[in-house]
């Protein structure tokens, strides 16, 4: 295409020098090789659970992330230009921001029209008295595009909480795995040292402050569209990820609420919008804020990266004034020009813009608006008129930007390469004294070949950016020493109360999922097969068991209505509205897992993704067999999860609450099943076979008794047998063991109360004398009552833990 810069090919059709090595390898790889790579990429992204907009409030999964199999290569010469330009740009943005919230020379010396600042909703008066000279922007992301002449120009700056860094890193990890050879041979510059510098910057900010500093990252939570990135980056850098509710301000100091009490925070890396940071001084309706945070910040007790009020710099309205501001504030010429932009807030400018309205892309002048950029070139006359009227009505709120023809980057469509418009989001981190540009970044290409560029929210596709080095590249990844990072920055007791709460419920729901699926499988197995009288009896008793534990409606008459039973089981598996059904439990599991994401391993996350796929997959076989087969797979996954829990997690306080949740749930469910079974046994003992199945104890029983199950023997195995991991006794012993290691809790007596409660239950269990009950006419009643008491005790223990450990972290939902 004439008048368009092609990233890969020179105008004469030859491959540009920095692409040559990669292009040769591409030829060797061929279309099939690329297809394989695409498949690998898709699988890796899914395994890592990369999503955008991970969780809505409903707990439904977000849109999967898409990464193009073709990287975008940038030559070292180009990168050097961009690097110098962006290092200057962050200095400039810091200088402007310090002036905005300080002396305001930019207004007093008429460098910008006063209304440019005053009409900017990102300009927070609450920040006016904070000294930002040394405490300015730490992270900036700039969207770069390349015009027809091959020069890079800046399209926009992201300053509040620049997004995309975590995705860029994830893209790199995935693409370097899909192209291991190519990646090495092309001498692609590594990203790790950039993150190391960033981590050092945060640590230095903290250590200037206190000797044993504490850095945390705050996120709005799992419902935020970039939550994946928050969790990923926090883990990569080795800082705890918290939510507003985990933090509190006392005596103008910021603290994190942990299981062992309050722990002071020195540096807050925020992924929460400006206006949501402090519910006292800013948006009172925000869930993410910490009341008093600004007061703590103003008093110099905590540092915030990026500073609250950074949103003021995110305005497109600044762009036309940057060259002059750069001269005035830095005494330098601006190195990377911006896309030609006009702020409509000046009457003369507005008049100029209106002369040739079709030349422009109209954009909102300030951040915080959802209105997308509007290109006028292809707009119908009527829509153009409406747009121009909107601009005239409130000209300060708009900028006109020249419509650039963007450079074209090769994109892998699945079968061939196709040129697509390209934007490069480049990342910079810095302090007053130094700054670093990430050698790479987040590339975006338009979703269609005609497409004008759009944002990630609107469905653009991502691309890894490879900066090709002229020299050999040293290997480095922070992921390798992540364990080290964790040890250094996170002492074992340092668990946010809210995280402990989520882990506790993760344990409970995981166990409930196991119980439910085992119960459903016990039923579905008896729906198919050859039938027979015994099977029908067991099915009948199994159904009554399910009704006793309230999984099936008591009024449902199932005798003889197999189709209805079949329907009910399917509904319990697929219908997310069925409380405690499989789909509902999975949603709750994933919600709690996501909220504690930085505590769970990659494998655990992969397992949850697999589980999600299995639950939503169609049945492989018709009829009951298909259901059984599906339940088999889910049960195996849940077993794998509990295996990971016991083998792959550090057994600190976080793990302790996961374990307690699981044991309390299993204990409570066991007591419920046993109670129901005792009740049914008054009539007939056929219920014992399905009961043993639910407890996964069929084999154990056979090994012990070689005979048809008898109530007392079954009860002995399921209640009192301390070596059976499914027995009530086992759960109580396990809870007892953990209760002794609990931290003090907020009431200071939490550990002691929990321990007392579980010891009382253990004494109660030991008093049950089954052989003595054998000749007692009232044995059923006694057993039923004991089970009832256990159920109540387990629930009150759960409440107790909630009161003592989680309640000072106010909870929104589980």
């Amino acid at each position: 295409m004439p008048g368009v810069w092609d990233e890969m090919f020179a105008p004469d059709g030859s491959v540009r020098p920095h692409w040559q090595s990669f292009s040769r390898m591409l030829a060797q790889l061929g279309a099939h090789g690329m297809q394989d790579n695409s498949a690998t990429i898709a699988r890796l992204l899914r395994d890592h659970g990369v999503t955008y907009n991970v969780f809505q409030d409903t707990g439904a999964a977000g849109r999967p992330w898409f990464l193009d199999a073709m990287p975008l290569l940038v030559s070292s010469g180009d990168f050097a230009v961009v690097e110098r330009g962006l290092q200057q740009r962050i200095r400039l943005l810091r200088a402007i921001m310090a002036d905005v919230y300080g002396l305001q020379r930019l207004i007093k010396e008429s460098w910008v029209p006063p209304r440019l600042l005053f009409a900017n909703p990102g300009y927070l008066r609450q920040v006016q008295d904070v000294n930002l000279e040394d405490d300015g922007l730490c992270n900036v992301a700039t969207d770069l595009v390349r015009g027809a002449d091959g020069n890079w120009v800046a399209l926009a700056d992201r300053c509040q909480m620049p997004g995309g860094l975590g995705y860029a890193l994830e893209n790199r990890i995935v693409l370097s795995q899909a192209f291991p050879q190519e990646f090495k041979q092309c001498r692609v510059q590594r990203l790790a040292s950039f993150f190391e510098r960033e981590r050092d910057i945060f640590r230095e900010m903290a250590s200037a402050h206190r000797k044993t500093p504490n850095v945390v990252m705050v996120t709005p939570g799992p419902h935020h569209r970039s939550y994946f990135e928050h969790a990923f980056k926090a883990r990569y850098l080795g800082f705890p990820l918290v939510e507003g509710a985990d933090l509190t301000v006392r005596d103008t100091r910021l603290f994190m609420k942990t299981l062992e009490g309050l722990r002071q925070v020195d540096v807050l890396i925020r992924r929460v919008e400006d206006v949501s940071c402090d519910t006292l001084e800013l948006d009172p309706a925000s869930w993410s804020g910490v009341p008093g945070l600004l007061e703590a910040w103003r008093n110099g007790r905590v540092r915030i990266a990026n500073p609250v009020g950074s949103g003021v710099m995110e305005a497109a309205a600044w762009l036309p004034f940057l060259p002059n501001l750069c001269r005035q504030l830095l005494g330098e010429e601006l190195l990377i020009p911006s896309v030609p932009t006009w702020w409509c807030g000046q009457a003369s400018v507005l008049a100029e813009v209106m002369k040739e309205p079709r030349r422009w892309v109209f954009k909102k002048a300030y951040c915080g608006s959802d209105t997308p950029a509007q290109s006028t070139a292809a707009l119908e006359e009527k829509s153009l008129k409406a747009l121009l009227a909107e601009v005239r009505a409130d000209p300060e709120a708009w900028v006109a930007q020249e419509a650039l023809v963007l450079s074209q980057a090769p994109f892998w469509t699945g079968s061939q390469l196709e040129p697509r418009s390209f934007v490069w989001r480049a990342f910079v981190c810095g302090t007053a004294h130094e700054s670093h540009v990430m050698p790479g970044g987040l590339g975006r290409v338009s979703p269609s070949s005609e497409g004008f560029l759009v944002s990630m929210v609107a469905g653009a596709l991502s691309k890894d950016v490879w900066v090709i080095s002229d020299e050999e590249v040293a290997l480095k990844s922070l992921l390798v020493d992540r364990a080290e990072a964790l040890r250094v920055s996170r002492p074992p007791g340092d668990v946010a109360s809210r995280i402990a709460d989520h882990l506790f419920w993760l344990g409970r729901y995981a166990e409930r999922m196991e119980q439910t699926t085992r119960l459903l499988r016990m039923l579905s197995k008896r729906l198919g097969g050859e039938g027979g009288e015994l099977q029908m009896h067991e099915l009948r008793d199994g159904l009554r068991l399910a009704q006793e534990v309230k999984l099936l409606d008591e009024r449902l008459d199932v005798t003889g209505a197999l189709a209805l039973v079949h329907q009910e089981i399917k509904d319990l598996m697929d219908n997310p509205k069925r409380v405690d059904g499989v789909a509902d439990l999975l949603g709750k599991l994933r919600y709690n897992a996501a909220a504690a994401r930085d505590r769970l391993s990659d494998d655990t996350w992969r397992l949850f993704n697999q589980l999600q796929e299995e639950v939503s997959a169609p049945l492989t076989h018709a009829g009951a067999y298909g259901i059984t087969a599906k339940l088999d797979r889910i049960i195996l996954d849940m077993a794998a999860f509990s295996g990971m829990q016991s083998e792959n997690m550090v057994q600190g306080h976080g793990w302790r609450f996961l374990e307690l949740g699981r044991r309390i749930e299993r204990g409570s469910a066991s007591a419920t099943f046993l109670q129901a079974a005792v009740h049914l046994c008054e009539e007939n003992e056929t219920v014992l076979v399905p009961l043993l199945e639910i407890f996964d104890s069929t084999m154990t029983y056979r090994r012990h008794h070689f005979a048809k199950p008898k109530l007392l023997q079954v009860l002995d195995l399921l209640m009192l047998h301390a070596a059976n991991p499914r027995s009530l006794a086992f759960q109580l012993e396990a809870i007892h063991q953990q209760a002794r290691l609990l931290p003090q809790g907020s009431s200071l007596s939490g550990a002691a109360t929990a321990l007392e409660a579980v010891e009382m239950m253990l004494r109660h269990l030991r008093q049950i004398d089954l052989p003595a009950l054998e000749c007692d006419a009232l044995r059923f009643e006694v057993l039923r009552q004991s089970c009832e008491e256990f159920i109540n005790h387990f629930e009150s223990l759960s409440h107790q833990l909630t009161e003592d450990y989680f309640s000072h972290a106010t909870r929104r939902s589980r």
Partner: protein, 292 residues
């Protein structure tokens, strides 16, 4: 005039609160015509931490935190105030309103620059086309700015009905505009929107007003209220002029100024966040009495 003011706020929570953080803007401003020889804020339960500072508009802020379970919070602000009469103003002598508007539009630094902030939209005030047109009926070409503003002041007083049941503190001005009803906060914010709509700088003022008992009756304690009005910038020579559309007058001896800002959100007298509270009941009583 000398006044003694007692402003008492009581918050009753329906479940105990463990921690709370508050901002109070209850300290009267020092002005050429207003002196405050003595002021004190008492808080019950006693806050663990309490700090004073000033906000971006020079209003005094008292920040406090209370830790420990409590079901009631009481904040009492007491002060002595001397208010001097404003010199009379010849509204017809003020400059044409367009010149004030244009001064604020200028890119060059001048006294108008700082007033220009109060022309822009603010968190609660976004003038509509309709409000702009309403205002323009007073702001006829070349009319002296204060004369036109007094006319607008009078029209809002006439067209609106004072009705405490129609709105509350959270009512958006679009709604009070549509209903043509409300209290002083609505009157002031609507008028500010009209003035900004035509490009003039106007700010929101919070304070107290001494009310007079009906003839022959004794004044009831606590019957006075927090009051709100506005201030219009009338050009470099005249500066900021107060207008009270709720009472159709220019404040003089009976208005006591606490704080000003772009709209109510900048001056809210008591703002807090509590942890653990369900609903809360707030009782406010203000008493402005002449000090002999």
């Amino acid at each position: 005039m000398r006044f003694q003011v007692i402003h008492r706020t009581l918050c009753r929570y329906d479940s105990p609160v463990s921690v709370c953080h508050y901002h109070a803007k209850l300290t009267p401003r020092r002005l050429p015509n207003q002196e405050c020889p003595w002021h004190e804020i008492t808080i019950r339960p006693e806050p663990l931490h309490r700090y004073h500072r000033h906000d971006a508009y020079g209003n005094a802020i008292t920040y406090f935190e209370i830790e420990g379970s409590h079901e009631e919070l009481e904040v009492i602000s007491r002060c002595y105030i001397h208010v001097k009469a404003n010199p009379g103003v010849d509204a017809a002598a003020t400059p044409p309103w367009e010149s004030v508007r244009d001064a604020c539009q200028s890119s060059q630094w001048s006294a108008a620059t700082m007033a220009a902030e109060f022309v822009c939209d603010s968190p609660l005030i976004h003038p509509s086309q309709e409000m702009r047109e309403y205002a323009l009926r007073s702001f006829t070409p070349a009319r002296p700015v204060l004369e036109a503003a007094l006319d607008l002041n009078h029209r809002i007083f006439t067209d609106f009905t004072f009705d405490p049941t129609a709105t509350n503190v959270a009512t958006p001005i679009e709604e009070s505009w549509k209903k043509k009803r409300g209290v002083c906060q609505d009157y002031a914010q609507v008028m500010i929107a009209c003035l900004r709509g035509v490009g003039l700088p106007a700010r929101y003022v919070s304070g107290y007003l001494e009310t007079l008992p009906p003839p022959g009756q004794q004044k009831l304690i606590g019957a006075d209220a927090s009051h709100a009005w506005l201030s219009l910038w009338c050009g470099e020579e005249w500066g900021w002029m107060d207008l009270d559309p709720t009472n159709d007058l220019m404040p003089s001896l009976r208005h006591i100024t606490l704080a000003w800002g772009r709209d109510f959100s900048d001056v809210s007298p008591l703002r807090g966040v509590t942890l653990g509270a369900g609903n809360q009941q707030i009782i406010v009583a203000v008493d402005v009495s002449p000090d002999e």
